[in-house]
């Protein structure tokens, strides 16, 4: 078996057994990363740094010092600040910005022994569901439909991370999820995408999109790998006031495969107009798999679900309009001069931000403006509480919730570009868990009729990633998803 095809768990065993070295493992992935260039998944390759880190990792192993991710080469979303390595959130406005500091999550990963391959492409400032809004150009999904060579989107905003993992160019990748930005690309590329409970991972050093929603999480090829990688990323950070001070459990230990007696909710509101029948069929299949494994299926209602998307598209842009005010051309990144201060601001921000970012900054500014605040932002906050309360109520009768991850499979590049609402609908199933701050995971569970991957989503109680992982592991096993993207099979 090729080293790039190993799971993180298998690589861990192989490294421990001395079957291969960290340098060999990383070397294989550097080759794969370079071979993946047609996908445009990476915006910065750090091959040299990767080799240095692998050498250091092998040395640590030799001295008996082995971290949870020791020697595992991974990719980092461009939203994470990485010391000495450019971090631009795939925006023109952060041109040439190289942070002199390391985000807490990536620092945790390096402390656990992981090796950085490079920075991955993403929608500009994590705003998007297609990776089409990146200043560094779109990412091509390694999958395409049977009999249709049209380039597909990998989803977004963590599209580069998802594509890199799907194309076997990285064993795992960090993503960030604000309204579905890990889970939806996970579903579109046939990999596992996991968003932990809000507060589980530090946001320090992660370029902010919407502070009350942003969470870092892993993209991997298996549920077990996600549990290992999350364990290395998570933990309390005094530098982030919203980071929660509670112990990080051994997530991997939760993968017992035993869900007998567990109650899993199926919310009736997650059927939307225009959703392909095959996605609903896959959802029913998921229910059957869980039943077969001994779980109790409970029909539940989350009545405020239909308000989740509009609520999200008020709160997230509102926070973004303020968070992105710091990109003003004064201290770092792009500056486009003007005759006056006002003109410099206008020139810099007009040129520096792409269309989708501008759209959201305008929406956000509008909903916070005098006279509109109560009708939009305040109302949205109230609805957000109701949505969280819906879930809270359901935890009395269920231990986890099963839904589809996205209402469609990966669409072609260029589709939905002239219709923001259609684009926003991608997030319809992922946004509610984001608004409620709940852990959720997308597991590749099947293929569409034209051969594109589809995912099922498991949502858990706050800080109960363990139950969520356990259910996800059962779905993964039952689905036995082994299909490979054409980008790989063609090559081979």
């Amino acid at each position: 078996m090729k080293l790039t095809e190993l799971t993180i768990a298998a690589a861990r065993d192989g490294l421990a057994a001395g079957d291969f070295t960290g340098v060999e493992l990383t070397g294989a992935h550097v080759v794969a990363m370079e071979a993946s260039r047609p996908l445009n998944a990476f915006v910065t390759e750090t091959a040299e740094k990767a080799r240095d880190m692998a050498v250091a990792s092998d040395a640590r192993r030799a001295s008996g010092n082995v971290g949870a991710m020791e020697g595992v080469p991974i990719a980092i979303k461009d939203l994470f600040c990485t010391e000495g390595v450019k971090a631009a959130a795939c925006s023109h406005i952060l041109d040439g910005f190289t942070p002199p500091y390391e985000s807490t999550v990536t620092k945790n990963l390096w402390c656990a022994g992981a090796v950085m391959l490079g920075k991955t492409n993403m929608d500009e400032f994590a705003m998007g569901s297609s990776n089409m809004s990146s200043y560094d150009g779109p990412v091509t999904n390694p999958w395409h439909a049977d009999g249709d060579d049209a380039k597909r989107v990998p989803g977004g905003s963590s599209g580069g991370s998802a594509a890199a993992v799907a194309a076997f160019a990285a064993m795992g990748a960090t993503g960030t999820d604000t309204g579905g930005s890990i889970r939806q690309p996970g579903a579109f590329t046939g990999v596992v995408g996991m968003k932990p409970t809000y507060g589980r991972c530090s946001r320090w050093g992660v370029i902010a999109f919407a502070s009350s929603l942003d969470q870092a999480g892993p993209l991997t090829r298996t549920v077990r790998d996600a549990s290992i990688m999350l364990g290395a990323m998570a933990g309390h950070d005094p530098k982030d006031s919203t980071s929660v001070d509670r112990p990080v459990p051994d997530f991997e230990a939760s993968l017992t495969g035993d869900i007998r007696g567990l109650r899993v909710g199926v919310p009736k509101e997650y059927v939307v107009d225009g959703m392909p029948g095959e996605i609903e069929a896959l959802w029913h299949q998921g229910v059957e798999w869980l039943k077969d494994a001994g779980a109790h299926i409970v029909d539940i209602s989350l009545p405020h679900t239909k308000y989740a998307l509009p609520t999200y598209y008020i709160i997230a842009p509102a926070e973004a309009s303020s968070n992105l005010a710091r990109y003003d051309g004064v201290r770092y990144g792009l500056r486009v001069d003007g005759e006056s201060l006002q003109e410099m601001y206008e020139n810099t921000r007009s040129e520096g931000f792409g269309a989708e970012v501008k759209r959201r900054l305008l929406i956000g500014t509008y909903v916070l403006s005098a006279g509109y605040y109560d009708a939009y932002y305040l109302k949205a906050q109230k609805v957000r509480s109701r949505i969280a309360q819906d879930f809270h109520n359901s935890w009395e009768t269920v231990d986890a919730v099963l839904t589809p991850t996205a209402p469609s499979a990966a669409f072609a590049q260029g589709e939905k570009m002239d219709d923001p609402i259609a684009m926003y609908l991608n997030d319809v199933f992922t946004v509610p868990a984001s608004l409620a701050g709940l852990p959720a995971i997308s597991v590749p569970s099947g293929l569409s009729s034209d051969g594109l991957p589809l995912g099922l989503q498991i949502i858990g109680r706050p800080f109960d990633e363990e139950t969520m992982f356990r259910v996800a592991g059962v779905i993964e096993q039952a689905a036995a998803f082994t299909a490979r993207p054409q980008f790989i099979t063609r090559e081979a």
């Binding site: 959130a89 942070p99 902010a208 502070s211 006031s241």
Partner: protein, 484 residues
Amino acid sequence: MSDLLKGNAGEWEMVIGLEIHAQVISNAKLFSGAATAFGAEPNSQVSLVDAAMPGMLPVLNEESVRQAVRTGLALNSKINHHSVFARKNYFYPDLPQGYQISQYELPVVGEGEIEIDLPNGDIKVVEIERLHLEQDAGKSMHDQHPTKTHIDLNRSGVTLMEIVSKPDMRSAEEAVVYVTKVRSILRYIESCDGNMQEGSLRCDANVSVRRPGDELGTRCEIKNLNSLRFLRQAIDHEAVRQIEVIEDGGVITQETRLYDPDKGETRSMRSKEEAHDYRYFPDPDLLPLDLSEDFVAAMKASLPELPDVRKSRLVSEFGLSAYDASVLVAERETVDYFETVANGRDAKLAANWVISDLFGRLNKTGTPVSQSPVKAEALGELIDLISDQTISGRIAKDVFADMFENGKGAAAIVEDKGLRQVTDAGAIRAQVQAVIDANPDKVADYRGGNQKLVGWFMGQVMQASQGKANPAMVNQLLKETILG
């Protein structure tokens, strides 16, 4: 009322509300660990958070909260156990985040009131609207380059308390007294050093005028007044301007104005139409601030005796006049100095010495009490020499001058210069007799009924004794001798 202003057509009343921005004494900023010392090299006290680097997050400095709560308690104001930090959004180069973290709908301190002593002896209550915590901005420097503006972020993120009064003041004088009182309280509890020159304490004044008894007029806000003198001048100029506008048939438009001390006028900075829409919303990077009963109780217990309480005590315990007491309590170190001097001594005498003699000399040289060359113990020693009649009060003035100039002790000066008071009746009698013998015409005049001449005789005898004769004995002996 004496505070009314006369216009060309009748009387006008000023209405003033003040916002005081007080920099909290703390080693760190409100949301970062950067230092806060005044006068450091530009941009030498700036953390990644203060410069708003991507991905940076604020973490609340507990000391800032402690100081805000202590200040709220010292201003007799309600402490809000639940308060929220909000973002105030606007673009300016010295505001790196593009927003100031402040408090909006739910400030940490709510309503309260303080008493101020007016010059006519009246006590006036001024109500406090709120106190909230906020970040200071950086500083734009326009004098470093012919065409460019430089930015110093040392002040960016420093903790400010904004103390907002209700529109309770009716004259510039009242406004000055109010600010002085608030400043005094802040300095007592050491939550702000009150240094207006260094910008640790700045004021915005909201000024309007109205006919006595009318509804409130339209107000203008005068920004950034950094001395009591400018505060007084700005308010007076602004009130006169508004009266002139209205009497000329115009209307006041709500706007922000700046005071130009060189020209002695306020001028428009931005109109209401140009006013920013700050788009306040709760800062999602920070949790609400929830304070326990125990925390507030501990802050209360940490407060020293406050000026008003101390003033009452000086009146009741030491028998001082309300005026003397209020002068002494204005600064904590002054009243501490006084109490050391007065301890075990004649308190009124001590008060006179501190207020007239010590303050007189300190004010001349602009020296704070803490750096007085005459320490409290030394002044006490001098007063002891007066009380036990070692020296007269007049000689004591000379001794004090010597102490102030040369830093020597009172007893040493008296010994070195031989200033010990003469109380030997025989010696004094001889000097009295010598003066009488030398001035027979004055004696006749006195005996003829010119009683005032006793003062002249006193002067002659004291002069002859080089001031050392006990004045009471001289007086006594003079009367005996001349009348006898």
